[in-house]
């Protein structure tokens, strides 16, 4: 479980996040929604340990993450950024294999049997087995997104953060990807996905967090009327955006 306590982030005088208090459980698919510029990406970057919060605390279980050794969070949390350009020459399986990269002894390290099992399982789950020898540049946008999803899953970390990874997919593939994420979450992983597809959020999310101008304006399960329960101020901003 990741807990955020009154977490704020200020960059060059601009407040990106302010007073965010919420919980990211394991075993669940958390969808992070809100207008562009609401601070979703910044929140993910703080969760992954890439950025440090200006104030407030991020706790992993009961431990303040600022007390953890450098790089510890990266072992717990994998993140697929919104804008990623995979090297065009890599094959899908080579890309997913890089998910098994370990910095220690990286100069000699070869994939273990355990690594191959994880890679093959991720490829199978994302229905990429038939494409595994194809080069990244030969794939459609949707297939590339699935390749990144497989890359994230192959890392087998406790939390997986996906920044609009599914938003480029067509309706059917997107739906099956949500189903897949839900399944993976049920097996124990904590998944945070930012997305603009509110219908699929309603259908699949275990928890929704709505961000608006850096504040949490709704958090809770995606009940039938969750979109109406977003606070009026937050909703107004959302519609303006």
């Amino acid at each position: 479980m990741l807990r955020l306590e009154a977490l704020s982030f200020v960059s060059r005088g601009t407040t990106i996040l302010s007073g965010v208090t919420t919980v990211i459980p394991d075993h669940s698919l958390t969808c992070l929604v809100g207008p562009n510029g609401a601070g979703k990406t910044t929140l993910l970057r703080i969760l992954s340990g890439e950025l440090k919060a200006t104030s407030g605390r991020l706790l992993l279980g009961e431990t303040d993450t600022s007390l953890l050794p450098q790089g510890y969070m990266a072992h717990q949390v994998s993140i697929i950024p919104q804008v990623v350009q995979p090297p065009p020459y890599l094959s899908i399986s080579e890309l997913v294999q890089l998910g098994r990269f370990r910095p220690y002894g990286a100069i000699w390290r070869r994939l273990t049997r355990r690594d191959h099992v994880a890679v093959n399982a991720s490829l199978a789950r994302c229905q990429l087995e038939a494409l595994s020898k194809r080069r990244v540049e030969e794939l459609s946008g949707g297939e590339q997104q699935r390749a990144w999803l497989a890359f994230g899953l192959a890392q087998e970390k406790r939390f997986l953060l996906l920044d609009e990874t599914l938003d480029g997919l067509d309706v059917l593939v997107k739906k099956s990807s949500f189903e897949l994420l839900k399944e993976v979450a049920n097996e124990g992983k904590g998944i945070v996905l930012t997305t603009h597809d509110l219908d699929l959020v309603t259908q699949f999310a275990d928890q929704v967090i709505v961000l608006s101008s850096g504040r949490v304006v709704y958090e809770g399960p995606p009940n039938a009327d969750w979109q109406n329960r977003v606070s009026p101020a937050g909703q107004a901003r959302w519609h303006m955006a």
Binding site: E50, A74, H75, V77, P81, V84, L98, F101, G105, I107
Partner: protein
Amino acid sequence: MRRTSLVMGALTLMLAVGVLMGLAMGPVKLDVHQLLSAIVSSDYHTAHAIVWDLRLPRVAAALLVGACLGVAGCLLQSSTRNPLGDPQLFGLGGGAAVVQALSIAGLIQIGTWGLFSLSVAASLVGAGVVLVFASRQGISPARLALIGVSISALAAAAATGILAEARIFSAQPLNFIGGSFANLGWQDVLPALPFLAVGLTLAATVVGNLNAMSLGDRVAANLGAEPGRTRAASIAAAGILGGVAVAVAGLVGFVGLLVPHLARLLVGHDFRKVLVVSIPLGAAVTLFADQAARLLFMPSEVPAGLVTALLGAPLMIYVARRVL
């Protein structure tokens, strides 16, 4: 792994052939028997001197410069995610070129060791500039190369200007601008060895991270590959190796650009293998280019850099079509 071993074996064989060619052929041809006796005994005084004082240092210089350029190109291409990475294209050689020009013109006189150190230092300055630009998020490969080419052009202009001002119109500046191994002795080669060792050691500290670097800084950081430190060490190592190469042989072009691409065609995209293969491959390409440069137009010769450009340019176009 088997493929890499096979490639390394074939390259070793090629290097052996190249070295024998470099020692036996030339204005004075030596057959196998003469060559062997010249190597082991000083009884045949002339042959002994030709092999030990003229041909062997030249062969060694070509091997060393080729290895430096191959590794430097590989480090630049992988750490900046830029298929145009090359010590000359990125402007690393430029600073070293100015230092060499100043030395040829007699404006600085600091001895061989000082000259090597100063060349490497100047090349590291160029590396610092590349590092600053390459660390910016979202700089396109072409823009980075354009900045590098501009620095190189500026440095070449400065170097040529210095040589013209000093009224030196002998073959030495021509060889230096073109990149040549003519008239090199041991004193031009041996000081390069410690720099080569430092450069390779620095490269070895980060080579394991280079594969993860290809996914972009944010993903690389999440995987634990320390993109900032990896890039800084890679570019610094490339700066040292590129500076040494210029100090030995001047501006030998295309080797640093070409060799890593060739290596990738041979052993795939694992940069750990590519880096290792780039050492003998760079050495072989440069050695054979130098053999062509000195043997084809005997008794006259052309700068080896001319041959690498002649071979490198069309091959590069082919590689660009496959890899870029």
